[in-house]
């Protein structure tokens, strides 16, 4: 079987299995917004854990994180594990999201903020922030798919076709049964991601180094500079990367929406436990993958080439390379379709219905939401298509994508305040998000790093100060705060939540 046939066959098998799973998920689909976007808040723990993992971990892991390890060493492990440790925020905040979501019927975190601060502009701004920062992020995932598939298959799957197939799949899997089809295909893809990455790493380690003992010995002998302290990471770089990621589980709407969906406390516990175990294994595998690339293909001009170069080595059979390709494709598409679904729900609920007070019935709202999905996907694709061919747009999309996690971080003080500070105000939330986002964008585009600190660090510090300062001199929504916080205080202890 030649390369082209093998590549297309691997892709076809993946697509067919994914569609079968999505159609199967549709059998349980009911009606309404909660059903379509939140699976009626009835996901079991196992599926919830896998969809959380597949949504969180994108193509960044086996490509970007491996590249970061290749270039800067062990600090990449610390940075990614800092994110995983940051999941303690889900332990503290997750139950609050879950309880409030059920009681007040929240669909998105923007709706929660708008209601808690009793101000619809808060929901509008929170949604616009997500659109600004997540559209380029999703587009860069598509570009990654395009470059990787075209590279691994030696052009058998052309770049634009790969991006188009990925976009189409994300739309189909989102639309077939909303979160039900996304969650089930995510679960399938999470398994593919984990299994393919472990199998391939073992293959590389045993073929390339004779086993893990030989692998670690080679690391100690050949690249000690990448193992000492944080490797080649400067502290400012480590902080600049780690801080936004530490708060990822609170700042990214596609992830916070997952906090509304477990069907019970037991399912919630399984979701967190499953994700922690998955995350630990996937992180270690991705980092070791980067180290193995450094030892086997040193001297690459760009660290982003680490994974494609490793997969191009003669010691890796084509079949194994294609399996990894499907694994990385799974990681990217499972992130894109979750972002699609979440942004569609925010556009309809937080912009159209609540934000601009349109008199939409739930049926119309859902119909609009379903139309928004392909529109957003088309925007992702157009961004990715233009950026891959034009230097001007590539100039725009790269800093915007880098700014994604830093930009979303500026909503964190408003989110924390909503749950813990009775005195927090809508003016504080609005001003902190706007000032923080403008500052992050300015610093990102100007490449200006005062005191060597990255945009996310400055954005977070400034928006925190603005949030507290403005809240102290403006009027809090006392009645709403009382209803919201008193309900949580009463119910948290009943479930033995912290």
């Amino acid at each position: 079987m030649n390369d082209t046939v093998m590549s297309w066959t691997a892709l076809l098998i993946y697509v067919v299995i994914g569609i079968v799973v999505a159609v199967f998920a549709r059998k349980r689909l009911g009606g309404g917004m909660n059903e379509f976007f939140l699976a009626n808040r009835q996901l079991g723990g196992f599926i919830a854990a896998l969809t959380y993992a597949a949504t969180t971990y994108s193509a960044f892991m086996m490509v970007g994180l491996a590249g970061l390890t290749y270039k800067l060493g062990v600090g990449a492990l610390g940075f990614e594990l800092t994110y995983l440790g940051g999941l303690v925020l889900v332990v503290f905040f997750g139950p609050r999201f879950w309880l409030a979501g059920r009681k007040f019927d929240y669909l998105t975190h923007a709706q929660l903020l708008a209601d808690r601060y009793d101000n619809r502009a808060v929901g509008i701004i929170a949604t616009i922030l997500c659109l600004i920062f997540l559209i380029p992020y999703a587009a860069i995932q598509l570009m990654g798919i395009g470059y990787l598939l075209a590279g691994i298959t030696n052009g058998a799957i052309p770049l634009v076709i790969a991006m188009a197939v990925a976009t189409l799949l994300a739309v189909v899997w989102s639309n077939i049964a909303g979160l039900r089809s996304v969650a089930w295909t995510d679960a399938l893809q999470a398994v593919i991601m984990l299994v393919t990455s472990i199998v391939t790493l073992c293959f590389v380690v045993y073929k390339g180094f004779g086993g893990f003992g030989g692998f670690f010995n080679r690391m100690n002998q050949d690249i000690p500079q990448l193992l000492a302290g944080p490797g080649l990471f400067q502290f400012q770089v480590f902080l600049g990367l780690s801080l936004p990621w530490m708060f990822f589980s609170l700042s990214n709407p596609q992830v916070t929406q997952r906090l509304f969906v477990p069907k019970s406390v037991a399912a919630f516990k399984q979701m967190i436990a499953g994700f922690l175990i998955f995350g630990l294994i996937y992180t270690v595998v991705s980092v070791l993958w980067g180290f193995s690339a450094r030892l086997l293909v040193p001297g690459l001009s760009s660290p982003d080439l680490a994974t494609p170069s490793l997969l191009g080595l003669p010691l890796i059979p084509r079949l194994v390379a294609l399996i990894v390709m499907v694994g990385i494709l799974s990681a990217a598409i499972s992130t894109i379709d979750s972002i699609l679904l979440t942004l569609a729900s925010m556009c309809t609920r937080d912009l159209l219905k609540n934000g601009f007070k349109t008199d939409l019935s739930e049926q119309s709202e859902l119909a609009v939401g379903k139309y928004v999905i392909p529109v957003l996907a088309a925007i992702f694709f157009v961004f990715a298509y233009w950026a891959h061919g034009r230097k001007g747009l590539a100039f725009m999309i790269a800093p915007l994508s880098a700014a994604a996690s830093a930009g979303l971080l500026v909503a964190v003080p408003a989110i924390v305040g909503a749950f813990f500070w009775r005195r927090a105000t809508a003016a504080g939330a609005l001003s902190s998000m706007i000032v923080g986002a403008v500052l992050v964008l300015f610093l990102q585009f100007s490449d200006y790093k005062p005191l060597g600190l990255w945009p996310g660090v400055w954005g977070f510090l400034v928006c925190l100060i603005v949030f507290i300062g403005v809240s102290l001199v403006t009027r809090a929504p006392e009645k709403k705060a009382q209803v919201f916080l008193d309900y949580l205080a009463e119910t948290l202890s009943r479930h033995r939540f912290l």
Partner: protein, 81 residues
């Protein structure tokens, strides 16, 4: 009490354990951000920062398990909207 101090935890029965756990995780993150930079610079093998960060995350994960394994489903249905 100052206005900034009016946190929602004031009347919460699990206040103490909340702050104890918050303090413990703050301590863990301080270690995460400082130890490899300050004390592990001289260890140029996988037994340095690589091992530290693995042990660190295992401790963090076990701590999280200790917290959420206490959660229970009592009256979940009653609260459902």
């Amino acid at each position: 009490m100052t206005q900034i101090g009016q946190l929602n935890l004031s009347a919460h029965p699990m206040k103490k354990s909340f702050w104890r756990w918050a303090g413990w995780f703050l301590f863990l993150f301080v270690l995460d951000f400082t130890l490899p930079f300050v004390f592990l610079n001289k260890i140029q093998t996988v037994l340095g920062s690589f091992l530290f960060w693995l042990v660190w995350i295992v401790v963090a994960i076990i701590s999280m398990f200790v917290i959420f394994l206490q959660w229970q489903d009592t009256e979940t249905r009653k609260d459902a909207h």
